[in-house]
């Protein structure tokens, strides 16, 4: 595991900002009803996706969740195709068939988001088998939430991954809530990361608002996996800045708690500041970067809006082959 070079840090910041701005935009579009269905913003958790994806290669796999835009962007996803998908257009990742919760990109090793909480965890086992059989040193990162960690699929999958020593990094993003249930109430033990012992794999509990901490821990787990030592479980603690979805007022949370995280634990703000303090990026450079990213995001909306809707006739034709 190498130390992060300056360029890599800047690249992480860029991705943090990209996710942040992309998600802010999707919320706007949701509120103006250009995006519909379900939308689960990744705001507040950006550092988990960014730090972890920085620790793997393009040909490694990730398995994502219903709150998956961040993972997708961090793994290199195309903003245009993402946005077009959110608008239900034929140029979208899923040709408008999937929406927010089903984005996938084989070329980038993105094995799909998922509308089923925990639905990706068993799938990661199979990707893990592939990685093992292929003997190319590939690994799979499997993301899921604190809520998902209480589902049976977590247990079966981590047990199986462990006994077959599959090269998988299980990253539980503990953002403190399922929809409305606090993980302190839903998870019987203190830390989800401690559950690793039930599967005889290394377990970690880390600050998921710090991309470098995430990067470091995940890099270690990736090395462990590539060496053939099997899976790890990492609990990355982060916070969901919004409600569960944009229309959720989240009355089940204390204002203070929200405020604390937004002011003290904002991954994007904190990392910008850190890189500024370390003189890795100047304020003008940062501003330019933000503008550029904003432009990219805006142009993804433009791309999406200009894109054609899926054709009804084609759909009716396709259905015959399902």
């Amino acid at each position: 595991m190498s130390k992060l070079k300056k360029q890599e840090k800047i690249s992480m910041l860029r991705t943090l900002l990209t996710i942040r701005k992309f998600e802010e935009k999707t919320i706007q579009l949701y509120q103006t009803a250009k995006i519909w269905g379900y939308l689960h913003p990744y705001l507040g958790q950006e550092a988990v996706a960014v730090g972890s994806c920085a620790a793997i290669e393009k040909d490694d796999y990730i398995v994502s969740t219903h709150r998956g835009h961040g993972h997708c962007i961090a793994k290199g996803g195309d903003l245009n195709k993402m946005m077009a998908e959110l608008l239900g257009k034929s140029t979208g990742y899923c040709k408008g068939r999937g929406g927010s919760m089903h984005i996938a990109d084989t070329e980038l090793g993105i094995l799909g988001a998922n509308g089923i909480v925990g639905g990706g965890i068993p799938i990661s086992v199979g990707a893990g088998f592939s990685c093992k059989f292929d003997k190319k040193g590939r690994v799979t990162i499997c993301y899921f939430g604190d809520g998902a960690s209480n589902n049976g699929v977590f247990h079966e999958s981590l047990n199986m991954a462990s006994i077959f020593k599959l090269p998988i990094i299980y990253i539980c993003e503990n953002n403190l809530y399922g929809i409305s249930m606090c993980s302190k109430d839903s998870v019987a033990c203190k830390n989800i990361g401690d559950r690793a012992s039930a599967y005889a794999m290394p377990g970690y509990v880390i600050d998921g608002s710090d991309p470098e901490e995430v990067y470091k821990t995940v890099s270690g787990a990736v090395e462990h996996a590539r060496k053939g030592n099997g899976p790890s479980l990492i609990e990355a603690q982060a916070y969901r800045f919004t409600g569960h979805h944009p229309n959720d007022p989240a009355e089940y949370r204390e204002k203070q708690e929200v405020e604390y995280h937004k002011t003290e634990k904002d991954p994007v703000h904190n990392y910008s500041k850190k890189l500024a303090d370390e003189k890795i990026i100047g304020s003008e450079e940062l501003e330019a970067m933000e503008k550029e990213i904003q432009k990219m995001v805006d142009s993804s909306v433009e791309f999406a809006e200009k894109s054609p809707e899926p054709e009804l006739d084609k759909f009716l034709e396709e259905v015959k082959n399902i």
């Binding site: 269905g37 249930m181 839903s186 899926p310 399902i322």
Partner: protein, 323 residues
């Protein structure tokens, strides 16, 4: 009569039954402060406390198991599966346990459990949140299947479900929670197995349940203007099914259109068609027409989504095809 929302009707039923019987309690995800994904249980945690409104982790199979175990030991739980799509995670407990326990144990045990859930398309929530899976439960001996269309039916049938001594799948449809309808203030119950003719007619019977009742009514209204008189037959409960009333209606009209939102292949609509063919072939003046969903996962794009489930127009076309 006063009009209230479908979800309010459900809430009233729950409150009345919880007040009547201390053994009734609720189990499910985000049913506490949050009040459930569609806010059916809003305010109930405050009213009844956490022992009767059990807010659970995301553990579908344990939610059903919790209901079964409590039902076996004297309680009358209502377990909630937030989307019928997630019932896929609990099928063992629903199908191998709840549905079969009474029979398998020679009536030693029984399972007075209501499983509330909702399905259907129309909200752009795509393939994993829009399924209509009632046909699965319909195919499992030992389960009652209830799918009310109106607030009135929802309340009366949910109260009956709570008092039923065997497991009930109580399946709502996500697009009709805010629909308003007449619901009396006084208590009432609706028996299982009793269909409701939502509109009388003489030329064609349209069999439709849950949200499709409204498409059928819209179709009937338009057809009326064209001089075609449709009877809209709402079974309300699919198991038990009011076959007698259905056959009677078909005998009267000699023509049947069966509507289901679910995808056509293997749908309940097909089953109804087969049943009536068997029981009333000689009364039919035309082949039974099935109007159902396309054989596709529900797409996100709203134009495609709309095209994948039946609507008024499809029903009108089917009716006209029979005449």
């Amino acid at each position: 009569m006063r009009e209230i929302e479908y979800r309010e009707a459900l809430r009233e039923a729950v409150i009345e039954e919880m007040d009547r019987d201390p053994k009734v309690f609720l189990v499910g995800e985000d049913i506490g402060v949050y009040g459930g994904a569609f806010r059916v249980y809003k305010g109930l945690l405050d009213k009844y406390g956490p022992d009767r409104v059990v807010n659970t982790p995301i553990s579908e199979i344990a939610i059903i198991g919790a209901g079964i175990g409590a039902a076996l030991t004297g309680y009358r739980p209502i377990s909630e599966i937030m989307f019928i799509d997630f019932a896929t995670l609990a099928m063992d407990q629903i199908v191998n346990q709840a549905a079969k326990i009474r029979y398998m144990t020679g009536d030693s045990l029984n399972v007075p459990l209501v499983i509330r859930t909702q399905g259907g398309a129309g909200r752009g929530v795509a393939a994993q949140h829009s399924q209509s899976l009632e046909a699965w439960f319909y195919h499992v001996p030992g389960l009652k299947v209830v799918m009310p269309a109106t607030p009135y039916d929802a309340k009366g049938l949910l109260k009956t479900a709570v008092r039923e001594d065997n497991p009930v799948m109580f399946i709502e449809q996500k697009m009709i929670y805010l629909n308003k309808g007449e619901v009396p203030e006084e208590e009432y119950l609706i028996p299982f197995g009793k269909a409701d003719i939502k509109k009388e007619g003489s030329d064609v019977t349209i069999f439709a349940y849950s949200a499709m009742v409204f498409e059928a009514l819209k179709a009937a209204e338009q057809l009326e203007k064209e001089g075609i008189s449709c009877e809209v037959f709402d079974p309300r409960t699919l198991v038990p099914l009011d076959e007698e009333a259905l056959i009677e209606s078909v005998k009267k009209t000699s023509r049947l259109v069966v509507v289901s939102e679910a995808c056509q292949r293997g749908s309940i609509a097909s089953d109804i068609s087969a049943k009536v063919t068997d029981a009333a072939f000689e009364w039919l003046d035309a082949p039974i027409k099935v109007v159902a969903g396309l054989n596709t996962p529900i797409p996100y794009n709203s134009t495609l989504e709309k095209a994948s489930t039946p609507d008024k127009k499809d029903i009108i076309d089917a009716v006209k095809g029979l005449l």
